[in-house]
Symmetry: C2
Subunit: 382 residues, 2 copies
């Protein structure tokens, strides 16, 4: 038995939980807070909401919203400058994975100096970060609870994975009501990202009983609630379930890390503008099929968590049923089925495969992965 | 849907996890640590072990082990004096619930002054506490992860429940190997305490999806592994499972709080020297029977987590099966069956009932409780 480590932020979950953001900052000793978000979230009205909450708590603030999908190192540097120029001492992130990962990376630079690539890898951050409160509005990335920040190195055209316990926010606020503004395509893509987090952390070589319970529950929730959540912006039961699934999958992968789907998805997202959740949705069944022989019993268990009756099935049959379940789910909710559907071409495969092999998430994939494996997997998924 | 809040420490779980205690302290900035323990734990060799670990990490330390079962306010005051006189700035607790609750209470006084009764109730602690690392050696109280400290007020002969997020330790170390020194009677009593935590938090009115997954897993582990853990000091699989059960039940009740069994058990333990786990073991089936009508569906679910096949059973039958399961478990492992077996007499009932009604844990019991209810329950259990 290896040592299990498990880290989580304080979690505030529920309808209107967002209203506690101001007081939560004050409780952490904040005098002036930088609110980090992006244009989409601002357009949906959530930035304004957080600003009014800060005003109610008499908490001075500045804002930074120049954040893009697959966010870049330069955005982090700009955000850090805004933090320092405004003499902020705490950070609120509000949005999906992009805004929250940039918010965390700003905290790293504000406290530790240098450039964000200095902190790529595991446990490179030395000085403690300013208080961080993360408000999740997408039910996808799990960044609100994770020890991860993923930022693109523009020179190398590569996603850097920064992993450190200090990146776990002080407080995660998950308000399912914020999900009602999401377009169905985004709900679908981020929901498939949640599914990928749950599956990859459940079969990760770093999985522990503590991460298993979270991954299991997330799998079960996504299997039941992702379809109705994509179908309706206002289905509150489905939004709450998907917000909880995202949170629990985040707790699982933050502590168990991920696998080949994320390694490849990071490689693609570092160079091309494709949506992270869509790439994961395409790759997941191929990666599951590849990984099956590494953990056949775990695949039967995952099939059961998905609601499949595995009595009388062989492990291979149960594994296939789980893979088929994922394919049908993605078809039903309309996420892209093939890499060529989102603009990936055969010429991109060599570079992507090599880069994916070097990603930190590849280390915890349950099956050993070679360059030929990745190339073959990508060709199958084209 | 009400707001879910969930707080946990950083968790280090596994064989030889205890060896990380010294470096964990240094990581939290400790310059000199007070090691809080008790005589039983010292006799088992674990105090000496922690001392040698501190020496290896070149971490200066002082010790305080004058801690009794159902620990008293005066012990906390003495421990705080030791902390201050030795100019400590961090605390390691090593032991069961008594040692860890005293360690936490010392941290409260060291940072906030006054006497420990000043902090009775919810959220009365204002100043942040020194870094706390808790090493659990009993698989029972869950104190290593909880926001609770329970200390006897000697004047009022009453257990004070102190609840505050600041009481969640910075790091919880759970090393299942430490359980191999426990006598079987203590394994049995503390194991029934774990079961009581899981059951009471699962039916608590403050239960949330986040606490449910922990309570559910704890129930399932206790149901499978408590018997073999009592049967053998050296069954490592059972020790690991019970350590995990204790941890998960602790995460559940720390955030969902408890119910009538603990309220009554606190009342008894504040005045009389009975073991907390044994009292809970006796009370649990009676409290379950009383609470059944408040949450029939949850009782069917608990029966399933215990491994009972509930197909074809009515909710009442499933609830009865769960209660019967608890009775048979406690019979098998030899914990006392009736309050009179541990020295409770009819004369103690009036005082105990009144005191139990005022306990903080009564607030989250799923069924409204009157004085007559408690009296009748205690008479049945005599």
């Amino acid at each position: 038995m290896h040592i299990n480590k498990f880290v989580t932020p304080e979690i505030i979950f529920g309808k209107n939980a967002i209203k506690q953001a101001g007081d939560a900052c004050l409780r952490l000793g904040a005098k002036k807070v930088l609110i980090v978000s992006d244009y989409g979230v601002a357009a949906a009205g959530w930035l304004e909401k957080v600003i009014s909450i800060c005003k109610e708590s008499h908490l001075p603030f500045a804002t930074f919203i120049d954040v893009t999908t697959n966010p870049k190192d330069a955005e982090v540097a700009n955000g850090c400058r805004t933090f320092i120029e405004n003499e902020c001492d705490a950070i609120i992130g509000v949005g999906g994975g992009s805004a929250l990962d940039v918010a965390k990376a700003i905290a790293v630079l504000a406290a530790n100096g240098g450039k964000i690539s200095d902190y790529e890898g595991v446990d490179k951050i030395e000085k403690p970060l300013p208080p961080m409160i993360m408000i999740m509005t997408t039910a996808g990335s799990g960044s609100e609870v994770s020890q991860f920040s993923v930022i693109v190195d523009s020179n190398r055209q590569k996603k850097m994975t920064i992993i450190s316990k200090t990146l776990v926010p002080d407080i995660a606020i998950i308000d399912p009501y914020t999900l009602v503004t999401k377009e169905s395509a985004l709900t679908a893509a981020t929901g498939m990202d949640v599914l990928t987090h749950a599956v990859e952390s459940y079969v990760s070589i770093a999985a522990t009983p503590l991460t298993d319970v979270q991954a299991k529950n997330a799998l079960s929730l996504v299997s039941t609630y992702l379809r109705p959540s994509v179908a309706s912006k206002t289905n509150e039961e489905a939004k709450e379930a998907m917000a909880m699934a995202s949170l629990q999958a985040g707790l699982a992968f933050s502590n168990a890390i991920l696998g080949a789907a994320h390694a490849i998805s990071h490689a693609i997202g570092g160079r091309f503008p494709m949506a992270h959740g869509e790439i994961n949705a395409i790759l997941l069944p191929y990666v599951m099929d590849f990984n099956f022989i590494a953990a056949p019993r775990r695949f039967t268990e995952m099939a059961e968590f998905m609601g499949i009756d595995t009595r009388g099935l062989t492990q291979r049959e149960a594994g296939n049923a789980a893979i088929q379940f994922v394919k049908e789910l993605s078809l039903d909710i309309g996420t892209p089925q093939r890499l060529s559907d989102v603009g990936i071409t055969e010429e991109m495969i060599d570079w992507t495969s090599q880069t994916a092999l070097e990603d930190a998430c590849m280390i915890t994939n349950p099956r050993d992965v070679t360059l030929e494996h990745v190339k073959s997997l990508l060709k199958n998924a084209l």
